[in-house]
């Protein structure tokens, strides 16, 4: 897992998320890593990266980052080298004050490493001052030197602040390391090529013994293994100098050959404080970066959905094929009657008992010589026989709430062959005082429009009429 994976995933979740089925299939294929989300994301990214357009944003970014880092690494090295050369320049008039150099290789690294540790703790914040003061942060500003196309694509890339902070921290450690290497090379180079008289000088009231004790403490890491790399009290005494009088002490001149011994301490101090510890910080920052990368991968927009799709079974309950129901449309114009006549040649009741039919006739104040219950529990033969007995005008009651089935339509068609006129009267339930609902009447109307018969009429009674009929029935 590296930064490229992150950027590829960043791009993929925006452009190509894969289908739910594809993601689940991949999840099942790699079921062994079900509990390792980062690995799962890596596998997914690897599979889908070919769908991204070339050049990959990750490649552009990596190339840019590599180029910038390399440039800055070289600059840092030479900066360190020339700083070292500057600090160790010996004119022959005045010895080289080791305190300057020590400040550069001990104090400065310790101070910046402390700041780095703080910035590592504060890496979560998007606006971290400690991160912003790092030279690596200003690498971003070098973006303006890139071609326009690369600039625009990189500007669209919004890296997680945590990750970008760690990226800066990591790069800063590398630059500082190179700077320190430059210093060391400068020290060794100067020691080899020049005869340098090292000395120490300070305005503070520090005795040689106290200074020795400080150096002894600073050399804790190597003093037991390389005791010759720790200046002795004698050397310290001999190499202390004061600028007053602009003349070197005669004792110093007599011990000139010994003054060069300081380089061993300086080299070890550089090696330990500026290089080894910095190297340790660099390793630490790499771990931090890896961890941040993992966290950033997981908190990437869309990553959690992706993981869910890979790990959760696909449960579907819907129809595999969406079906469009066709509502049959009739073309026949429905004939309607508002009121019932007082008498009919026949009255029929569809799926009603003869008692119900009698009550209905009574309540509608309809007189008829013959009333038959049809449909319902009747056999088809019984219905045919009733049809044969029908003639003239027929009042046909139907339950308004029951939709007309084709069984009913068949009967109606047979009936129209023998009858002169069929008045279809949908009636509601007893609780509704036989009043059909408007919706039900409309349903009957729509169905009857499909029958092209001039003999069929629908009693589309107004509520008022039906109410009157019902009231009559009750009275």
């Amino acid at each position: 897992m590296n930064l490229k994976t992150y950027i590829n995933l960043y791009e993929l979740v925006k452009t190509h998320k894969g289908t739910r089925e594809e993601n689940r299939a991949l999840g099942l294929e790699y079921e062994k890593i079900k509990n390792e989300p980062v690995k799962q994301l890596e596998v997914w990214t690897k599979k889908h990266t070919p769908t991204l357009g070339k050049p990959l944003l990750s490649d552009t970014f990596s190339t840019y980052l590599y180029g910038m880092t390399l440039t800055l690494v070289i600059i840092a090295f030479f900066l360190g080298f020339f700083s070292g050369v500057g600090l160790l320049s010996y004119s022959g008039h005045e010895p080289v004050n080791v305190i300057y150099y020590m400040a550069m290789v001990v104090l400065l690294p310790l101070a910046t490493m402390t700041l780095t540790l703080f910035s590592m703790f504060r890496a979560n914040a998007s606006q971290s001052l400690l991160v912003h003061i790092s030279p690596a942060f200003w690498m971003e500003k070098m973006l303006r030197f890139l071609p326009q196309k690369a600039q625009s694509s990189l500007q669209e890339l919004k890296i997680n602040p945590l990750l970008s902070n760690w990226l800066i921290i990591k790069r800063s450690q590398l630059l500082a390391l190179m700077f320190s290497l430059g210093l060391l090379v400068a020290l060794l180079g100067m020691v080899i090529t020049k005869d340098i008289a090292f000395a120490w000088s300070t305005t503070l009231q520090v005795s040689p013994n106290e200074f020795h004790s400080l150096l002894h403490t600073l050399a804790f890491a190597w003093r037991d293994i390389f005791p010759w790399a720790v200046p002795s009290v004698e050397l310290i005494e001999q190499s202390q100098y004061f600028r007053l009088g602009e003349k070197l002490d005669t004792q110093m001149i007599q011990n000139a050959s010994k003054l060069g011994e300081w380089w061993k301490f300086l080299a070890f101090a550089t090696l330990f404080y500026a290089i080894l510890l910095r190297f340790g910080m660099w390793i630490l920052s790499m771990f931090g970066f890896k961890k941040a990368l993992k966290r950033s991968l997981l908190s990437l927009e869309g990553a959690s959905i992706l993981l869910r799709e890979m790990n959760e079974p696909i449960i579907t309950t819907s129809a595999t094929v969406e079906k469009k129901n066709v509502v049959p449309q009739g073309s026949h114009t429905m004939q309607e009657v508002e009121d019932l006549d007082g008498s009919y040649d026949r009255t029929l009741g569809w799926a009603m008992s003869s008692d119900e039919l009698r009550v209905l006739n009574d309540s509608m104040q309809v007189i008829t010589p013959m009333a038959f219950d049809v449909g319902g529990a009747n056999s088809l033969d019984e219905d045919s026989e009733i049809i044969s007995k029908c003639q003239g005008e027929v009042l046909f009651y139907v339950k308004s709430w029951e939709p007309p089935t084709m069984d009913f339509i068949d009967f109606l068609e047979d009936l129209t062959r023998v009858a002169d006129k069929v008045i279809l009267a949908p009636v509601g339930t007893v609780e509704d005082a036989y009043l059909p609902k408007i919706k039900e009447l409309e349903m009957w109307g729509r169905k009857l429009q499909q029958i092209s018969s001039d003999k069929v009429w629908l009693k589309r009674s107004s509520v008022k009429t039906l109410s009157r009929e019902s009231l009559n029935a009750e009275s």
Binding site: L28, E301, R308, I315, A351, S353, M406, D407, E431
Partner: protein, 467 residues
């Protein structure tokens, strides 16, 4: 003896036309795509609704056309005088013989899955009286010899359930009442349990399906919480930029960026709503209306602030908690009293309630010399009330969608009062939420575990509302 091939349980939902078969299937399948019509004969083909897990079918539901010529079919069957153990063969013979006969297409469509082993779920309307015409249908189903149960669907207000139970008891060993429009998830699962009892072999797979359904339901909740979390995070952290044409921003440019900013937040809300409707399989609702709810009530309107926002007291406490009273102070425009908060929207609009203005959502800043250009920037959201308005709207929408029956085809109505907030948010929840809102506003990295913690708060809130 060769072993019998495993066949997943199948259930055919059959009955008289227009008795709510499709509504029941719609509810059982969590699918609002099922065509429901009040015109008889609109379902002409059977439709399968399998419950699949990673492509494997656990059980299958069939929506079927209603019986059209039941008496004729029964007459044909009864012509064959056969013992009980051969009756199903006669039904099969009927199907074979009438496959091309248009008159019996509906009956064949509904009988085919039954003859292929499906259990029968016979649906009747319990709000209408029983009639003898149903007997032919029930008799045909008895001829098939398949395990069966009756489902009394209460479509209307009147109740003839007892009458129906007496009649159905003669034909079916199990009779249940189920209202697809009002059934909750538990009733749904109970019905599945009953269906499993039809055949001993189906108990295990249907019980497994019930466990999966619970998992599915939980997934829906989790995905909704995740979507709402994303909405709040995006909305609070959103930053809008606008390049300037001149050295200084004009009033028009300031207005433009404000408008763009608000538009983007509205888009986030709409996208989140659509996502939640999809999670709960209600995506067909969008065909009815563009946005399920809040029509005419903009995210940045006075009504939204009145109904969904925090009260003055809560807001001040929130401000103090978040240590941002100063910033929030300028955002707040107090107007009117809070007396009408429990009333309907219309009244709320008039009363205005406690309105926290949106003129100052966030500072508009002229920024940077990024590559030599100046630009205006607005965001992230500073208004302390906004996340609660957004959250309340999102939770209300999600709870409505989650508890809405898939059989309903009517347009969702907006009816709510201020008391909605009390159903899910107490002092400690508000404090917990505010902690995250501050984090979202800061633009800092939101850790995976923090996101999950917020999601869990939303999940609990959503469940509290629905329960």
């Amino acid at each position: 003896m060769p072993s019998r091939r495993y066949m997943h349980p199948k259930f055919a939902v059959v009955g008289h036309p227009n008795k709510g078969k499709s509504s029941i299937v719609s509810t059982l399948a969590f699918d609002d795509a099922v065509q429901i019509s009040d015109t008889p004969g609109s379902t002409t083909k059977k439709q399968s609704f399998p419950l699949t897990v990673d492509g494997k079918i656990l059980y299958e539901l069939f929506d079927t056309p209603g019986f059209q010529r039941a008496r004729r079919v029964l007459a044909w069957l009864e012509k064959h005088d056969v013992p009980a153990d051969k009756k199903h063969e006669v039904v099969q013979a009927f199907i074979n013989e009438h496959k091309e006969d248009e008159r019996f297409q509906d009956e064949i469509e509904l009988l085919e899955p039954i003859m292929a082993g499906a259990g029968i779920i016979y649906v009747v309307d319990g709000s209408k009286p029983y009639g003898e015409e149903y007997e032919a249908e029930m008799e045909i189903l008895r001829w098939t010899g398949q395990p069966s149960m009756a489902l009394i669907n209460l479509i209307g207000d009147t109740n003839y359930v007892e009458e129906w139970k007496r009649a159905l008891g003669h034909y079916f060993k199990m009779v249940r009442v189920f209202n697809p429009m009002e059934a909750d998830f538990i009733q749904h699962l109970n019905l599945l349990e009953s269906m499993a009892q039809l055949n001993e072999e189906w108990i295990v797979p249907v019980k497994a399906s019930i466990i999966l359904f619970k998992q599915y339901h939980e997934q829906m909740f989790e995905q909704s919480a995740s979507s709402i979390t994303q909405l709040v995070h995006h909305s609070l952290s959103h930053i809008e930029q606008l390049s300037l044409t001149h050295e200084d921003a004009t009033a028009e440019e300031r207005e433009e960026i404000q408008e763009k900013y608000q538009m983007q937040l509205r888009t986030y809300e709409l996208e989140s709503q659509k996502k939640i409707e999809k999670i709960w399989n209600h995506d067909h609702l969008q065909k009815v209306q563009e946005s399920l709810l809040f029509e005419g009530m903009d995210l940045f309107s006075k009504e939204s602030a009145s109904i969904f926002g925090l009260t003055r007291k809560e807001l001040l406490i929130t401000g103090a908690t978040g240590g941002a009273v100063t910033g929030a102070g300028i955002d707040l425009l107090f107007g009117g009293s809070t007396l009408l908060l429990g009333s309907a929207i219309g009244a709320l609009v008039g009363g205005s309630g406690v309105f926290f203005g949106f003129n100052e959502l966030s500072d508009i800043k002229v920024l940077g010399q990024n590559l030599g250009k100046k630009y205006l920037e607005i965001g992230p959201m500073k208004n302390l009330n906004f996340p609660y308005i957004l959250l309340n709207r999102a939770l209300y929408h999600a709870s409505e969608v989650a508890s809405r029956s898939h059989a309903l085809r009517s347009v969702a109505k907006f009816e709510m009062g201020k008391s909605f907030t009390e159903r899910w948010m107490d002092e400690s929840t508000r404090k917990s939420l505010e902690k995250f809102h501050s984090k979202f506003r800061s633009g800092d990295e939101v850790k995976e575990e923090e996101r999950k913690e917020y999601e869990s708060l939303i999940l609990t809130a959503l469940k509290n509302i629905i329960d």
